[in-house]
Amino acid sequence: MAVLVLVERGPEGIEETSLQALAFARSLLPSEPLHALAVGSSEGEDAATVGAHGATTLHLAEHEALDAYAPRAVARAAVELVERLRPATVLAAGTERGNEVVAHAAALLDLPFAAGCIAAEPGPPLRVTRVRWGGSLLEEALVHAEIALLTVAPHAVPARPTGGPAAVVERFAPALEESDLAVRVAQRIEVAAGGVSLADAKVVVSAGRGAGSAEGFAPIEELATLLGGAVGCSRAVTMAGWRPHTDQVGQTGTKIAPELYIACGISGATQHLAGCKGAKRILAVNTDPDAPILSSADYAVIGDLHEVVPAIVEAIRA
């Protein structure tokens, strides 16, 4: 029985998270033929990439209406292929779009859908380990379905090239109806890339309720600028209106992965930690030596951030 992986393409070819989904599929069902599905016409590079990650076939859903993203149309194409291949498992990367498309496919097929898996054992029923609470908690679950639909939590497994030959390309034009295109990207707003983005910054300097006010962020901004990093904050701060939500780190904010995360006046709630687990090192600045963040931090300074942070700025300048 086949395995089908829905892959996403970005500006640099097949997305890393999709290659991770291919690796996940291969370790789940190593001896089954591995099919990939991408939307739109494609050059040979994509067939080479997915082939090098173990896929035997790259299906390309080609349709002029698919030039702009339309989740239901992509799901329709996937379902058409699912009905042809009858795979045991259908996977995608657990990105926003991956989760969205698989949810649509699950609704079309009336099948269960397990989002955010980090491990799986073949079934039936397929047994998965998946994330809850943005990764602060795990769940083991059974997927009671002939065709198991799941997404793979980003970075749960590394991509693993097999050195395989280019996948065989099979093109098809999915049958789409008008209703499949009712929700379709009509316009794209590019956000000017001013400064360092929170998600990609090498250093993030954050503050929480301990900052006390919007003005309390002045030394935080100064330190971030000195280190060429980005400013972050906790939800207590965005709820108080001191910083915009785009600065929030956590389960319902941005997930960061800097070399160093400097967390000042942040207690370390699980939902905040869910956003900074990817940090290589954490330095906490907190008045409370028993704050939970200290059990996740590598280094700590015990003290008032309003004194400690300006002192660090001054010492760097000296």
């Binding site: 993203y69 926003e96 989760n99 969205e100 949810a103 649509h104 609704a107 009336d110 859908f113 397990a114 989002a115 955010g116 809850r132 609470w133 943005g134 602060s136 908690l137 795990l138 769940e139 083991e140 679950a141 059974l142 997927v143 009712a182 929700v183 379709r184 316009q187 794209r188 707003i189 590019e190 956000v191 090498k202 280190l227 939800r235 965005t238 709820m239 209106g241 929030q248 319902t252 160093l260 709630a269 699980t270 090192r281 330095l283 906490a284 030596p289 939970p292 996740s296 590598d298 280094y299 700590a300 300074v301 015990i302 003290g303 004194e307 400690v308 300006p310 002192a311 001054e314 760097i316």
Partner: protein, 254 residues
């Protein structure tokens, strides 16, 4: 406009998650409860739209009797009334949850007229299933746009902005529609004291439901083995600054 917003009661876990001995749930004896920040923004958006356009807002939850607290919280910030699909506290999977919500929406629309918008969180705080809103949209045959950070209703259509890498994607769909939203959509208001008082008088329609057999069946919960660290204390107060600079230097960050 008539707007429905769906919310789910979840524990406020704080610094560390502790499970019940059977590993079926989070131990909640000492915890407060809340809803997802995404859903809080859904509630706020419903209140604002009805304030501007007139009409009625309804909050719905599927959950234990105690979940009435979350319905009252939503009414305290301006939601007009509530629908409570009462369970025995066992969790329902995404399919069963969506089916129950669809049934409730159909009944509600048959008596009070159609909803223009059904608002959901992009994902629930605890399960993170990414599916209930989408499933409801399909069952009702309405368009569904997910992950929204901005919503504008005009002339029977809704313009939606979705966060995408490097920018935003814009969608325009006709009403009625199903939208799933994210924190950052707006800044929710805090309930006032009179708001809380009023909320106590507002109507809650209750219906008890039996849980169908789950098709995504939870076996047990596990706390991930994130390494518990012992932070190296670099010092106390501003005197620690030189040690911090040493560290930054050592990490090659200066």
């Amino acid at each position: 406009m008539r707007i429905l917003v769906a919310v789910k009661r979840v524990p406020m876990t704080g610094g560390r998650i502790v499970l019940t001995p059977d590993a079926q749930a989070i131990a909640t004896e000492h915890l407060g409860f809340t809803i997802s920040p995404h859903e809080e923004c859904g509630v706020e958006e419903a209140v604002r739209l009805v304030e501007r356009e007139g009409g009625e807002s309804v909050v719905l939850t599927l959950g234990p009797p105690e979940a009435e607290e979350q319905l009252r919280d939503a009414m305290a910030v301006g939601i007009d009334r509530a629908i409570h699909l009462v369970t025995d506290g066992e969790e329902w999977d995404g399919q069963a949850t969506a089916e129950a919500i669809v049934e409730a929406v159909r009944e509600e629309e048959a008596t009070s007229g159609p909803f223009d918008l059904l608002l959901f969180g992009n994902e629930s705080a605890d399960v993170g299933g990414y599916q209930v809103g989408v499933r409801v949209a399909y069952a009702l045959g309405r368009p569904c746009v997910t992950g929204l950070k901005a919503i504008a209703v005009e002339n029977g259509r809704v313009r939606c902005e979705q966060e995408a890498p490097g920018g935003r994607d814009v969608y325009e769909v006709p009403l009625p529609a199903v939208l799933t939203v994210k924190e950052g959509l707006n800044l929710p208001r805090y309930p006032s004291v009179p708001g809380r008082m009023r909320a106590r008088q507002r109507p809650v329609a209750r219906q008890e439901l039996e849980r169908p057999a789950p098709r995504l069946e939870r076996l047990r919960l596990l706390v991930p083995e994130g390494e518990r660290k012992e932070a190296e204390i670099l010092g106390h107060g501003p005197e620690a600054a030189p040690r911090v600079v040493e560290l930054l230097d050592r990490l090659g960050l200066l």
